[in-house]
């Protein structure tokens, strides 16, 4: 995305008072619940360290886990397909559905399906996909992308949900329970008529060959049991070595994502039973991510706490990022998983406040990774910006020139301010500097007192 359209999108979000009010309210609630849930966990810091160590693995160890998982899952009855790219993953799902003549699918919440553009790919092949997670369904009806990875409709208030349901025949109030009841009614028919279910994987267990699926609405249980065919999409970064490691990550996930001590439904899926069960193991940039300096980001358990904590996200919402994975983690992984074209200003949508580093349950050094993204070529700095930073760096080593430039800059801004430019400067948020810098004004301070000025001013 060009810097211009990126900023235009942001301005649109910032100028939406309904969005601002919704974000303030829901994020305040989620932040409080998360803080409460985390405080209630005994030895939380030690758990973070353990989970971080278990998740932050070298690339070679990850490959071993992928092989071990595929072998165990296959032994347990799953049919495994490896997909190197988004296109391959979509094609693999399409082929599974085509082989069974499936034209209607129900989906559980899956960020990886958003990442690879599965719904659009299926539609092109004549397959209609219905989201069944309430928030996902709402944004699907609106033709929007999710604005948060665990709370897809976080940017909407209940009136907007009511308006979204109205064309489907909803005539009730904006009461959340009534709205949810309507959705349940509508979606039940989909569960019963769908030819296949598609869902994601929170974690994949290499030892047991099983998939751990975490949800709160019961839709995940229906997606994974009602239709005769099930396709699970799992990024290779979802694989953990053991059930114990999965349960540890699960505990951190529920506390950090939704502020729950325990979530409503946790499924440990195996490949046996009446259903035909597939797993598509997706790379789509993950191996490259793991081999890069951004590998720590592959430890992410997709809780979304970094977004909830982020002051920028709190003002722009997830759609402000223009990327399926918003917030700090989104900035850290976008270039590998989403491969934005052209010059991408996304890495600059961060104040480096460090709040995300503080809350990340698996201790991903998010703000360090954001800074590293800014250092990559094609990361949204124009040639004039590169030149300005290069010039600044050289001036920094030459104090006389540096301070001469400062004097000239101060004089110019002050001149502009006194010659009718004050309003322009105010609009651009340029501070009118004092006439003299500390360096230029401090002579008296160090001469009059007994303090020394050191060897200062040597070359100035």
């Amino acid at each position: 995305m060009s810097a211009r359209s990126f900023l235009a999108n942001l301005r649109r979000r910032l100028g939406d008072p309904t969005l601002s009010a919704t974000l303030s309210r829901s994020l305040a609630g989620t932040r409080a619940k998360r803080a409460h849930a985390v405080e209630a966990i005994e030895g939380y810091e030690a758990l973070r360290d353990a989970a971080s160590a278990a998740r932050d693995l070298p690339a070679a160890r990850r490959e071993e886990l992928v092989d071990a998982f595929a072998k165990a899952a296959r032994a347990g009855g799953f049919r495994i397909t490896h997909a190197a790219t988004a296109a391959e993953a979509c094609a693999a799902v399409g082929a599974i559905l085509a082989a069974r003549g499936v034209t209607r699918v129900v989906k559980g919440k899956s960020m990886i399906s958003e990442e690879i553009g599965l719904n659009e790919a299926l539609a092109r092949g004549g397959v209609e996909a219905t989201e069944t997670d309430l928030g996902e369904w709402i944004v699907q009806l609106r033709g929007e992308a999710p604005s948060h990875i665990t709370a897809p409709a976080l940017h909407l208030n209940r009136d907007q949900v009511r308006e979204t349901f109205a064309p489907l025949g909803y005539a009730g109030t904006n009461d959340p329970a009534t709205l949810a009841g309507f959705a349940r009614e509508k979606l039940r028919a989909e569960f019963l008529s769908a030819g296949a279910g598609i869902c994601g994987a929170n974690l994949a267990l290499a030892d047991a060959g099983r998939i751990l699926l975490v949800e709160n609405e019961g839709n995940g249980g229906l997606v994974t049991s009602c239709p005769p065919v099930l396709v699970i999409l799992a990024g290779i970064d979802r694989i953990v070595a053991t059930l114990d490691q999965a349960l540890l990550a699960h505990r951190l996930l529920t506390a950090n994502a939704t502020g729950q001590a325990v979530n409503a439904y946790t499924h440990l899926l195996s490949g046996d039973g009446a259903q035909e069960r597939h797993i598509v193991l997706v790379d789509n940039g993950r191996r490259a991510l793991l081999a890069s300096p951004f590998a720590p980001a592959a430890a992410c358990i997709r809780c979304g706490a970094c977004m909830v904590a982020c002051p920028v996200y709190a003002r722009t919402g997830g759609h402000g990022y223009g990327a399926i994975y918003p917030g700090p983690i989104g900035i850290a992984i976008a270039r590998h998983l989403l491969r934005p074209g052209g010059d991408d200003p996304l890495p600059y949508l961060c104040t480096l406040c460090g709040r995300c580093d503080e809350v990340c349950p698996v201790k991903i050094p998010l703000s360090r990774l954001v800074v590293a993204r800014r250092g990559e070529t094609g990361s949204g700095k124009g040639i004039h910006e590169r030149l300005a930073f290069a010039l600044h760096a050289r001036l920094c080593e030459r104090p006389a020139l540096y301070h001469l430039a400062g004097r000239i800059g101060r004089a110019l801004v002050r001149l502009l301010s006194s010659c009718g430019g004050a309003r322009l400067l105010a609009r651009l948020r340029v501070k009118v500097p004092p006439a003299r810098s500390f360096r230029d004004a401090c002579g008296d301070l160090f001469r009059d007192s007994s303090r020394t000025r050191g060897n200062g001013g040597g070359d100035a």
Binding site: L14, R355, C396, V430, C442, G454
Partner: protein
């Protein structure tokens, strides 16, 4: 005790009173203050914009001006945190991390200095992100402010003001939205003056208030402490 005065670039050019107050407070606390006027920028500006080479150049230059073993003290939680974390690698000076201090941290924790004087005023205190989380020292600025007789202090919620270095210019509309929210919080305290330990935050809040036509006085914590001390005479 000999102390190197570290003057952050924003303080030098935009808030010289903060640097001046820092020097005077250190002197009042009994330090022999040395200032090397060849200081420019600590390198954080380049670093945060993803230009590690620019940061390295600035950091090497800055580190060369602060010979050991004397402490280096400056009025910025952000720059000091940056120097602590990165100068070992960027400037090849791992020893500096252990002797560079933010002003209030140095006065409060190192020297056990107590504010002097009296200041009948009401201020909102904005804890800068890097003061609170990167340095980290949440305690010292508030401890000193609260020890000033007559001063009413309203600490603001620990939430970014929207400065963010290059973010301020590069993502200006977002920066402004964050600052506007912070200004609402400041107004809610009833204070018309806000203090902080970082010039970047002060500049962001001051310029945004000016743009939005909101009356606001911004001061560095050092200025306030000096004001109180000088009122004592």
């Amino acid at each position: 005790m000999i102390v190197h005065l570290f003057v952050p670039c924003l303080a030098n050019d935009l808030y010289p009173a903060a640097a001046d107050a820092t020097a005077r407070l250190l002197a009042r606390a009994g330090c022999e203050v040395r200032y090397d006027a060849r200081q420019t920028c600590c390198g954080q500006a380049g670093w945060n914009a993803g230009d590690a080479e620019a940061a390295r150049r600035a950091a090497r230059h800055a580190a060369s001006l602060f010979p050991g073993p004397h402490p280096v003290v400056g009025p910025s939680g952000s720059c000091v945190a940056f120097m602590r974390e990165h100068y070992g690698e960027l400037a090849g000076d791992p020893g500096l991390a252990g002797r560079v201090f933010e002003l209030t941290e140095f006065l409060h924790r190192r020297l056990g200095w107590k504010p002097q004087g009296r200041l009948p005023a009401t201020v909102a205190y904005h804890p800068s992100c890097h003061q609170a989380r990167a340095l980290p020292d949440r305690e010292s600025p508030l401890a000193l402010l609260r020890a000033v007789p007559g001063l009413r202090v309203f600490p603001l919620e620990e939430e970014c003001c929207g400065f963010g270095g290059y973010f301020f210019a590069k993502m200006a509309p977002v920066s402004e939205a964050l600052a506007a929210e912070k200004l609402r919080r400041i107004r809610a305290t009833g204070a018309t003056r806000v203090v902080s330990t970082d010039s970047g935050c002060l500049m962001n809040l001051e310029t945004t208030a000016r743009k939005l036509g909101i009356p606001l006085e911004v001061s560095h914590v050092s200025e306030l402490l000096l004001e109180a001390a000088e009122a004592a005479r």
